[in-house]
Symmetry: none
Subunit: 414 residues, 2 copies
């Protein structure tokens, strides 16, 4: 059931509002097994709306329209719909009764503009708005369904969930779509695609793979379609199991998880605690960890040692070590990890020291040079990385890489 | 200059990714005085791309395309562009040199797929990608400009800012548009609009005001248009001077500055140093400060004290204080500020302790309760705030509010 979304609103075209409505609708339709072929964002202008409706009718079986139904003058959608569907406005008593109730509940007087909002084209099925004044409208023309809804998110969402998707589902017979995400860290998109190319090439025709890269992370999205949801689910899980055997060390999680969530769960489930000592990441690792609700169960805190003096006075790194090897060195970063682990009395400690940039690089230690150490109850590891030139990106990638090191240590400890 | 944005990507049509790229581009074009007439989101399918290009060429003078240029096989945009522009791929040495440098800097081998990424249609102007492997492409066909860019936000953004908008601006003649932003903290959007309503109502017809709220911050964007750029600039500065007299204490900066940049400049210019002691903000203040290049000149570090034990052992908060008043109290937060200031030997110190949520609230200290302290050479202040229920938002607003307190202390000290 090919569906097009038309978002109407000048505020979207000047970038003042991000079109989260369209993403939300697309997600809901996808879950319901309805394919979105296009999202079209247009201005609140009669000609633009007419053109967009005309174009959509040529390629989609369902056209979902949001926006342009408010009481203010820039909203001309309803009259344009009348024109397109060769219709006239009629008063819709049930919608007006709803408006009166809504205003009554809030102790507000009903105005003339609100009475006008209860007028709908005579040849549509009005959809009652449970949360606002403008009703939705369901039209059918030459085999295509058109649904017009308000742009206010919670008004639109109730209509989609309670009316539009149930009605559309009645019209569909069968095809299910399932998406599964595999989260990887360690190699870039192009190298990853080489590693798994045989597996990817041998995917059955009803499964497709997409690469969704982020700094330090590549998410793999496997999309499958089929009439038997349970069977499809099992087939996809088998494919993912194959993938696990090809790149076991690169996969850190599944679905919508973040690295900090995965690490947090490992710590929580094992009853172990963590502290961090951060130089170039400047508190970002602590911030990621503490962005998870309940992290105080396993995270005791961090020392952001942005000057050498703090590395010695608080983290007990020896002045000789700093003098001999510098702040960005194996010796210093392991000293930081051991120091914070002892001071904070935790099971694990992460330490990072590097040149985030844009300045501070040398020939020996160019911008991006980063030492990461993880200290555990029995093991101490330290690794040197060379990230890129962009400060924010270096901070982000260093943090993800450090958390992943801790994850691997915890898993291998088991 | 009518512009259409085409966003290519299956992930957008299933609602997995919100199309923030299109909003960002629309905002940048709007600021540059370029009108966006449509945003079209389509699938990574040859026929869809060809149709969308054809349609756009009929209504737009400029077509900006994002997405579909990665090295993996789900990206078929480049071949489709060749087909549409009747072109053949040729190797582009400067782009490949950039790729080699990028990979070389990171110590990674250049692969065959990356070499292929440096191939571009022979009849386009390649746009060097400063942050990635896929070059952008600028085409002109029958009077319409087409620009294809990667979908990775920071790669695309650099191309738009550094190449596309400057080139498009050369093509526009006449009407100048200037935007100036005034950054405020302290009151919400609706109260702010009441405070400045007289001023706003008396703006000349060629100036418009927009409110751009973020957690803890409301940015005011004044947009003016006129043929004489210098004169317009002076007129707008006069209006902003009027505004400064109405809400002096609420304005913390101008333009694209962030709170952490403003505070960083104050510290840098005065030669003063800062440390932080963070409980509920969990390192986020340190992260904001250290996201600024050169912050090591004034920031010595932070103690993230996520457990009471660290508050006493590292920050020297007295156990009696914690027992008598709790972690979220004036006594504890001032103890944290004084403790970190002394230990880190800095001029100023910020401390925050609160209930970020969603759990941990009590009747006396509900979720959102936050104590903020700032200690300076001569002054110690502490303030209680009640923020909202959302954890991420509370962390963000607490950090901005704390930085602003430091800013006010430094300004009033002068």
């Amino acid at each position: 059931m090919k569906t097009e979304i038309i978002s109407i609103g000048d505020e979207l075209l000047i970038g003042q509002v991000v079109n989260t409505n369209a993403s939300w609708i697309a997600e809901q339709l996808n879950i319901a097994g309805i394919e979105v072929i296009r999202i079209n964002t247009i201005a609140d202008i009669r000609e633009e709306i007419l053109k967009a409706l005309q174009e959509a009718s040529g390629r989609a079986e369902v056209v979902l329209i949001t926006g342009g139904l408010g009481p203010t003058r820039d909203d001309i959608t309803k009259n344009t719909l009348c024109e397109y569907f060769d219709s006239r406005l009629v008063f819709h008593a049930p919608s007006f009764a709803y408006v009166k109730k809504l205003f009554g509940d809030r102790g507000l007087p009903v105005r003339e503009v609100n009475r006008k909002q209860a007028e709908v084209p005579h040849n549509c099925i009005p959809i009652v708005n449970e949360n606002g004044t403008a009703p939705g409208m369901w039209f059918e023309k030459e085999g295509t369904v058109f649904v017009s809804m308000p742009g206010v998110p919670f008004e639109m969402k109730a209509m989609i969930s309670n009316y539009v998707i149930p009605e559309l589902s009645k019209k569909i017979n069968g095809l299910q779509i399932i998406h599964k995400k595999v989260l990887t860290h360690g190699v870039g998109e192009s190298f990853l695609s080489e590693l798994i190319s045989d597996w990817e090439n041998n995917l059955p025709v009803n499964m497709k793979l997409a690469y969704l890269p982020q700094p330090g992370i590549v998410r793999l999205r496997l999309s499958g379609s089929g009439r038997d949801r349970a069977k499809l689910n099992i087939e996809m899980d088998e494919k993912i199991k194959e993938l696990q055997n090809i790149i076991p060390e690169l996969i850190f999680g599944y679905g919508e998880k973040t690295m900090e969530e995965v690490v947090g769960e490992l710590l929580k489930n094992s009853g172990m605690t963590l502290s961090t000592a951060e130089s170039c990441t400047g508190g970002y690792i602590a911030h990621l960890i503490t962005s998870i609700a309940g992290s105080s169960a396993y995270f005791k805190g961090s020392v952001v040692a942005y000057s050498n003096q703090i590395k010695t006075s608080i983290l007990d790194v020896k002045e000789d070590t700093l003098a001999a090897h510098g702040a960005v060195s194996e010796q210093t970063v392991t000293g930081m990890a051991l120091g914070v682990r002892k001071k904070f009395n935790t099971d694990f400690a992460i330490a990072v020291s590097g040149v985030a940039g844009p300045d501070g690089g040398t020939d020996q230690k160019p911008v991006g040079t980063t030492w990461i150490a993880v200290a555990g109850p029995d093991v101490l590891i330290a690794e040197k990385h060379l990230f890129g030139k962009d400060r924010q990106r270096n901070i982000r990638i260093a943090a993800i890489t450090a958390l992943n090191k801790l994850r691997l240590m915890m898993i291998n400890d088991k």
